[in-house]
């Protein structure tokens, strides 16, 4: 019983806090973001398991976490609103080469983030080679190059 509540509470709390912090928070943009992710995992792990070292608890917890995930994806398939609430929505940040500053500010993205994504994913060197840029739900920025 206890382990079910712990698993569900931690799952929901983490979901809430990561949705509040926005998609870019831990999109592994820097090495330190990755380190931060490891530290968070370590901190949460204690609360999930406490001082219970049994295999039963570890298996139960895995079942609970994966089970909630499956249940959520089932609901997401049936309710677009639920899917948007849990996963967020994509956001257009460059439209026909024009930076949508207001949106970028609110999503805490700057021009450099867009250029980084353009260089690493498309090998583009300048802003005017970009047609569209979209901030995806997973925090990545996808770049669509301008057609020659």
């Amino acid at each position: 019983m206890d382990v079910l509540l712990r698993g569900a509470a931690i799952y929901l709390f983490l979901l809430l806090i990561f949705r509040i912090s926005g998609p870019r928070a831990l999109a592994q943009i820097t090495t330190f973001d990755f380190v931060l992710l490891l530290i968070i995992a370590e901190a949460v792990q204690q609360g999930l398991l406490g001082d219970d070292f049994s295999v039963t608890t570890a298996l139960l917890l895995t079942v609970v976490l994966i089970g909630i995930d499956i249940a959520f994806s089932w609901f997401k398939d049936r309710s677009p609103w639920f899917a948007r609430t849990v996963d967020g929505v994509p956001l257009l940040i460059v439209d026909h080469g024009e930076l949508l500053r207001d949106r970028m500010d609110r999503a805490r993205i700057d021009e450099e983030d867009v250029l980084t994504a353009a260089r690493s994913s498309q090998g583009l060197s300048r802003m005017d080679e970009i047609d569209y840029a979209v901030l995806e739900r997973n925090g990545a920025i996808s770049i669509i190059p301008r057609k020659a």
Partner: protein, 166 residues
Amino acid sequence: MQRHDDLQLEEYPDFQRREWLVQRVGWAVMLLIVLGAALGLFGVGPLSEAGAGTDGRLAVDYERFVRFQSETELHVRLSGDALSEGRATLWLTAGYLDGMRVSQVIPEPESVEVSGDRLTYTFAAAPEATEVGVRFVLLPTRIGGRTGEIGTGHGPGFSLNQFVYP
């Protein structure tokens, strides 16, 4: 929903605006949580400090907010009538200790006596001592509010009120 001519992307401007608003509110709540934690709302801090007694025989310091499976200490200073013939006595209600595991009592008691709903601890004290300090190291094993009483001798006790966070 908003569509673009040559980019197949479904945007939800209203939803996005609401999300940003909720995020800002969430950040404010996180700030409040951090401030509350700094002040001791979740244990260790001015808001969490609590005391009981101070009637010349007994003075107790403890944490009002404690956490599940996380050690906390109860400090007791015994003086006056609580000390007699080289012995210091102190009792706690058994109900309080239901949800608290006593990990350690410092100094070690000479004896622990169970009577009705009370546990009476007796400590050996130097005959000339006018005040002795006792520490209970406690591990909360139940979540929620905990109340109990602490006292010395046969007189009425002082109430302890704690909240155990999950």
